[in-house]
Subunit: 148 residues, 3 copies
């Protein structure tokens, strides 16, 4: 009697906390995600990295500081930061962060990455970033790994 | 003899139907997704929520009506709705919904969320929305849950 | 004694290679993804399709050539291609592809799709595209299937 066909399915959940001193910030979290994968014992599967706050994003790109400047510059040109409630109806609620909700959506908001051989299966320049668009407060990012 | 290491893997698939009376509309589907998770019996895993039509999107943000106005306003400013086939080549096919294909892409199109303790694992303001950009017709959203 | 409750969990990983002769190109990869699913033997689950290079994207839309023109046109209007390092700081590194990093982010970068009955579970017009924004070089796309 052999059970070799039955593969144990595992899931692992972790929450990362951030509290950036800059209102707008980009933080490379690739190493943190790899550490969590190691702890999970999962060798092969998928990892979802999802900001739990709606004025932040997680995205994948090159770890190059000029590029981070370009992302910020693009976002400011497409969707201006500081407009009154005349333009951003969300800001009629007393908030001033409508831009941050919109930016995080344009950035793609979340990523799902592959786990192979107990690590992130990344291309040569793929790095995972937490993008904070309305900082100075504690925020969580959910990391859920599912695999075998 | 113990089988406690063998975890049953489950999948569950459901299709939600929409037929909005507004051409452009945002519908909060968070409760519907949680009901499907409950029915699936899956306690821990991932749920993919994917519009099966290419002029609609699913996205996560705050349930605030001003913000929905701001999303629509942003999309209209970045990618105008009503342009002829001179500008939108897609509209040379007889369609007039090129903008809707483009908008749904800028909105991120789909989301994958975490299931923990038999419910969506959401931050304090995370809500899931169906975004219709070319309504007045029946459209489906696929919900696929995978986990244990 | 019955093991019918224990479902075998499978994962399958493949890498697709692209080397486009056009600098900017859109390639329909739907059939390739379906072939990989067939080979994997996985009947029900999720498939992640993730470009491993940060100047390319994978997205889902209608297979209509006018629409591909419209995507390119939208991207060029929102984020111009050829600007110097005065505008795009990334281009101060000697690169001239800052636009490609930004475009791929606006396009949503990656997709996760459902596998049902051993095939992609697609709506009537859903097709999967590889979007190359900085071609003339070999690039990989990761395909990871997870399911039962």
């Amino acid at each position: 009697m052999s059970y070799s066909n039955f593969t144990n399915m595992k899931t692992h959940t972790e929450y990362l906390w951030f509290n950036t001193s800059n209102k707008i910030d980009f933080i490379n979290i690739t190493d943190k995600i790899n550490s969590i994968i190691t702890q999970s014992g999962i060798q092969d599967g998928l990892v979802l990295i999802n900001p739990m706050h709606i004025t932040a994003a997680v995205f994948v790109n090159d770890n190059e500081s000029g590029l981070m400047y370009d992302f910020k510059s693009m976002l400011k040109q497409l969707v201006p930061e500081h407009l009154s409630g005349d333009d951003y109806h969300h800001n009629r609620t007393g908030e001033d962060n409508a831009y941050a909700h919109l930016w995080r959506t344009l950035m793609g908001h979340q990523v799902t990455m592959a786990v192979t051989n107990s690590q992130l299966d990344l291309g040569p320049w793929e790095q995972i970033f937490y993008a904070e668009f309305d900082g100075h407060r504690r925020k969580r990012v959910l990391v859920k790994i599912i695999g075998r």
